[in-house]
């Protein structure tokens, strides 16, 4: 059976093989990016001055990609709309395209079937890029931890910069997480990224 030249049974089989191999490969968490904590570079005066400017411009204009997966997504949407107003922090809209984004807010339950898509979208984002894991599900699988289909935390698939606990975290918590990300970006150095 085929639609527009696609071989559907093969697509299904390939997808299944992809997911199974990912499931076997991703058993350990990707280490959190911590390079920005290194003291040595921050003593270099020239680099730090340039860093300050670049980091300021980077953090003041983050472009988040919309990766809403489950209930947490609604808190993210609320954060983006008028009452909490994410644009106060330099993010006007959640981008639908990863190529225009440098921050991925993973809000919700990640299933193994979705995991290859998450990885691909992360790879499509331009460097430098950051990831926020929003909610218990994105951090560890949350209340679906023992389910047959849920990934035990998005840090098995991509490196995570900020974890926001809660089920779901309130918009204030997301904004707080974004502030924390600002602090982190401010300490980064172009010598690393």
């Amino acid at each position: 059976m085929g639609i527009d030249g696609f071989d559907i049974p093969n697509l299904d089989r390939d997808e299944g093989a992809d997911i199974e191999s990912m499931r076997k490969a991703c058993t350990l968490a990707v280490p959190d990016p911590v390079g920005w904590q290194e003291e040595d570079i921050s003593r270099n005066v020239l680099v730090t001055t340039v860093d300050a400017v670049i980091n300021w411009s980077r953090r003041a204009s983050l472009w988040p990609v919309n990766f809403g997966l489950a209930c947490c997504a609604f808190e993210m949407i609320a954060t983006a709309s008028s009452r909490f107003d994410i644009s106060r922090f330099g993010m006007e809209i959640l981008r639908p395209s990863p190529r225009q984004a440098d921050l991925m807010i993973v809000s919700g339950t990640l299933t193994w079937k979705m995991a290859p898509a998450l990885k691909r979208i992360y790879s499509q984002m331009a460097e430098p890029k950051w990831v926020i894991a929003m909610g218990a599900c994105a951090i560890s699988g949350g209340l679906f931890h023992r389910s047959y289909s849920v990934v035990h935390g998005v840090n098995l698939i991509v490196p995570v910069d900020v974890y926001i606990p809660g089920c779901p975290p309130r918009p204030e918590a997301l904004l707080n997480g974004i502030q924390k990300l600002y602090e982190k970006i401010q300490k980064q150095s172009i010598a690393q990224k």
Partner: protein, 148 residues
């Protein structure tokens, strides 16, 4: 709200039409043998006075010894509803005839049951997993499913 039909009378009527098709009937539901399902479905849909033209849902239950497939039928014309059930005693290879030919809406739901409960639907046009991926081991909604 739809009114439930008088199941006892309907069961007698079905018994007259298809000998030996009824396993049991209560005042809430009718349980029929699996091999009669598609014929009974067509009969319930096309007979004047019954006209169950809308399949509200089809789902399945694991009772450990056997499976039960449950159809909730609604007649929009007569404002009536009916719970039709069928039993599946073979746990190794549970099979039920598909009703996609009668109600198109059964398509995805039968695939869902196949995916999560492992019941095969004969003559389904495209019976494959719908939520889980190809190569997933086991059927997670079965009571004896063990998560690795």
């Amino acid at each position: 709200m739809t009114k439930p039909v008088a199941t006892k009378e309907l069961a007698d009527r079905l018994e007259r039409e298809f000998q030996g098709c009824i396993i049991e009937s209560s005042d809430k539901d009718i349980v029929v043998k699996a091999e009669f399902v598609s014929k009974i479905a067509l009969y319930l849909k096309d007979t004047p006075g019954l006209e169950f033209d809308y399949l509200n849902y089809v789902t399945a239950v694991d009772y450990k010894d056997y499976f039960m497939v449950v159809y909730n039928l609604i007649s929009l014309k007569n404002n009536a509803s009916l719970i039709l059930k069928t039993r599946c005693d073979n746990r190794e290879n549970p099979t039920v005839p598909s009703v996609v030919g009668v109600w198109k809406g059964a398509d995805f739901q039968e695939r869902e049951i196949y995916d999560l409960m492992g019941i095969r639907f004969e003559n389904h046009p495209d019976l494959k997993r719908i939520f889980l991926w190809d190569g997933f081991a086991g059927y997670p909604l079965r009571k004896d499913f063990v998560n690795q």
